[in-house]
Symmetry: D2
């Protein structure tokens, strides 16, 4: 591999997700493997501006493959939205002789990376790290698979209570713009109904479905609601609405919240992170820039950052039908 890149920087930005540490580890070790230097940049773009850099070698990243969160930390950076901030960031990279950046984060982070690349011609490659799976160009984002497991385990616990008390639970899961988590965990946890941003079937349908379910002999039910559900009601209002219209039900609400972001990554996410880190570094070494690393059909691929940001991974409509059948 011939290249003029001899030092790569890596940072995490945006909301943390399980597998970020495994991805950092992979970036660092791939650099070591190719005998180039690697520098960790703390607190995302803000640390880039403030010069919060630290050299990392293969041993710096031991025993972190299984840790949630990101040891490089993440932060919002209003400064990076200004030309001055980005100028400062660029000067820091020059000073530290960093030749290219790996950015681990979501679409906001990638947009920042694209602007930076445009302004300074600085090579960047993105690794999609977010539990929401809402980034185009990869079947799976880092942390998504782990979050699915965390959510079904949580709903399994809630079901213990739901079926002990013949209750109906509304469970809110993450997903402002995308219903991937809600749809998959809804099927995986055997939910009666699943409300997602991509599809608004109306509140009437939900009532009918719950009535049918009660009539069929079901004594407890779970409704999984994505944060970004388009019913026009939040999860508490939904619960009240059903309470008013189906007074027979004993209803409770559970908002799973931040537990969904943390925890040890699943095997899938660890392997994915390892593969993505290798692909990111080697793509930079091959002279590529402005791409996001992704996985499709078990193969690594590159997608231009602007496509990754603008596009959208569609939900699998088949799953909606599977869910309907499962709630027979």
């Amino acid at each position: 591999m011939s290249t003029e890149i001899s030092k790569i920087g890596v940072l995490t930005s945006g909301g943390d997700s399980p597998g970020m540490n495994a991805a950092i580890r992979s970036v660092v070790r791939t650099c070591a493997f190719h005998k180039i230097d690697c520098v960790g940049i703390y607190r995302g773009y803000q640390g880039l501006i403030e010069g919060d850099f630290k050299e990392l070698n293969a041993r710096s990243v031991k025993n972190i493959i299984n840790r949630g969160g990101t040891f490089l930390k993440s932060a919002r950076s209003d400064d990076f939205r200004t030309k001055e901030g980005r100028e400062k960031a660029y000067q820091n990279l020059l000073e530290h002789e960093v030749d290219a950046l790996v950015i681990i984060g979501g679409d906001g982070s990638f947009t920042g990376g694209m602007i930076f690349n445009e302004e300074f011609g600085f090579p960047v490659i993105g690794i999609p790290g977010t539990i929401d799976n809402d980034i185009f160009g990869t079947k799976s984002t880092l942390g998504y698979d782990t979050a699915l497991n965390t959510v079904v385990e949580a709903i399994d616990r809630i079901r213990d209570t739901a079926s002990s008390h013949n209750r109906l639970f509304f469970v809110e899961v993450m997903g402002r713009d995308a219903g991937h988590i809600a749809l998959n965990t809804g099927v995986g946890a055997g939910a009666e109904e699943i409300l997602i941003p991509e599809e608004n079937l109306g509140l009437e349908r939900m009532l009918e479905s719950l009535e049918r379910s009660e009539a069929s002999g079901k004594t407890s039910s779970i409704v999984v609601v994505a944060e970004g559900d388009k019913s026009g009601k939040n999860v508490f209002e939904l619960a009240e609405y059903v309470e008013e219209n189906l007074p027979g039900y004993d209803i409770r609400v559970s908002v799973l919240g931040h537990i969904q972001r943390g925890g040890a990554p699943s095997c899938y996410d660890r392997v994915l992170a390892s593969r993505m880190g290798v692909k990111a570094v080697e793509s930079l070494l091959e002279g590529k820039s402005n791409y996001m690393v992704g996985i499709n059909n078990d193969e690594m691929l590159l997608t231009p950052l602007d496509k990754a940001v603008k596009g959208k991974t569609e939900i699998n409509k088949e799953l909606l039908r599977v869910s309907d059948i499962m709630t027979t």
Copy 2:
């Protein structure tokens, strides 16, 4: 063991807790061991009134020791608060030739049991099943140990995000009247502050503690708040209050909610449930009634139901001091 009891009924009442199934299993098998019959009563006191009875033998309870919730289900019963309801319940027990009852539940359930015993002289023994550990006469209630583990695992996940983003999290845990869960999980999860119903040190102290913690170099913190905290503010108001007074902090709130009640019981709770079931049945066979089974210093003991209901297990004040030291 000479006794005239030849059939025992068992029911679960009040909020479910991990270990209830293990306790039912133990009651059923202890009956089988002593060659007496056992009948499961579904949906607590309501099922007692409605005659929702089912004979259970040793094989009926296989493979349930590790399941959360209660397969006998639990329910509120307004009817049991009426004399007519209890009269009907008594007639059902006579009809089914049930000679004694094991009641698995919390203090509300025990109060019902006491009244029933008083009115009809019917033998009852209680097993304390609640995650809150707020029942006098036992060091541990069934499900409490499991709930502690569920909570610390959840906070471990939240800490991944908290330390990745240098955030302050307020985490609300169960405990309306008792701070046992908050205090133990606060120490176990390394919380900066713990707010419990038993102690109101004032909001000033919390602010001071958080300021001191920031000054000492801590970049993220967890505050564990019991539902029944006496600060006069709920967890969202607390978060706002700190946000206003310590604007440097990036604050989030997480209400753990119903996930705390479910899940497979810990080994401790399974063993405790098994021991309590044996003790409950054998106490009835020995002619005892109106007691609650408990554990203290690794030994089974009996406490009169009225004492169990009126008393209160004090929190371990030493833990407050340990928590202070740990947040140095």
Copy 3:
């Protein structure tokens, strides 16, 4: 969907795997959805011969989506290897008016199904249930993803001890003919070396790698060994061999064994099971037979049973390279 199938039988055969219960549930509910009958056949082909049948409706399969194992149980059947046995099985199906079979199992089970189909023209569809992922025609077999998580969690625990004591652990994982589990968990758990049946790089290479690793400053290591490893030594002999040749190492062996087969299925396996059950039943209703249901690139597909049995899912060679880079 026009069809003459009005009753479908479902059985599990071969080694159990997490997700089998979820698949049975899906088969039963898809039958209910299409208003046809479903009958569960207990203990695999042996129960088929012995007439161990039970009608299942949508409610029969509640609360099992998250349970490991198979409630229909599985068993070896020498009788089914005989013409007489199969003849008896066929008569039972006729008697119970079963029109088609869904067989959940591995390649041995599918071979039985093919012969049965050939002899009696009886419609069969297979669902691949095995943790080994060694069946052609599907990217993932049911239970494989769950087993990967079980194994990395187990190795995470072992690593706690390995790094506390600067030890080298040999960990044997399942996989007689296929290295999928070893390769993926090896990468996911950060193993120093991975020994799989598909590749025999020689013991020399392992020694060199371990020496290099020690020289690089690593103080503890994990070597993941598939059961079917072709080094000519079992895991205990491997450990001895290294002990003799690299006396500096403090070596331990752990055989993970049967814990790998059990446990609650991951979200991925639950969704996969639900989709496979739908596909299996609807394929039968469309008049298809002698196929196995599989998943590729997130889509359901059918593969003729004989191809599924004879073929082999290749390991992803890229992962070997990723593993090498990660152990830099």
Copy 4:
């Protein structure tokens, strides 16, 4: 608290156990709270001899309360068995101005500490860290509760397979000299038989019990065997013995091994570790020496090291009876 101790050293020795990191954290923070210095000694007594010391402050131990293993590492030390070794260790402590030692480990570690104390009059306090619970003077050793949960979770997984296949599993758990783990997990996992070092009821009894169990309609069983079982046969020989005598059974063996030592500590172990660390440091500050910290009846207490080493925590015989009843 008046004292002349101004610097305390802490080390971990012997087999690691979950909670050791939490105990180190507690020692370090209690020192900081009392404004005295703390030094971590790496690799147990060997590091003491080699001068492998590192100053630790309150921030050095952040985010470790939930980690298995010991970041100070542990090691055997033949050198510490020699007078010369211990002399060197003493000189290192003088050089680093360490005034007292907290030793976290098992009875071997405590014996070393006692000799050291005797020879040099050096103040030592022990914290019992071992999963086996085989140390006198404490109801619970650090890591024991966590190990119980790890074992029951593993057996739950095995039971999935056992009941799917109507099999009998022999599961070997840790415990060379003590049956605490076997006895409690046997009850907690619903084992048919439990074989422990403290009681040898003979192989005949086991056969009878298994026959009775089969006759009673049980189709699968678990036998939990402590490593130190006194039946005269190891777990594989036991399995063969039963296979020969009860040919109806399909038998498997699982040796849980090292997974029992690792993993995140339970809430109980984290709280216990925190309390023990406080008690250890404050006891030294009060001028006490040659004691082990323990817990009994939810209170901290001190036991002379020689008693801790020579004594033995008896198993709870009541549990044997409970186990008998549960297998009715």
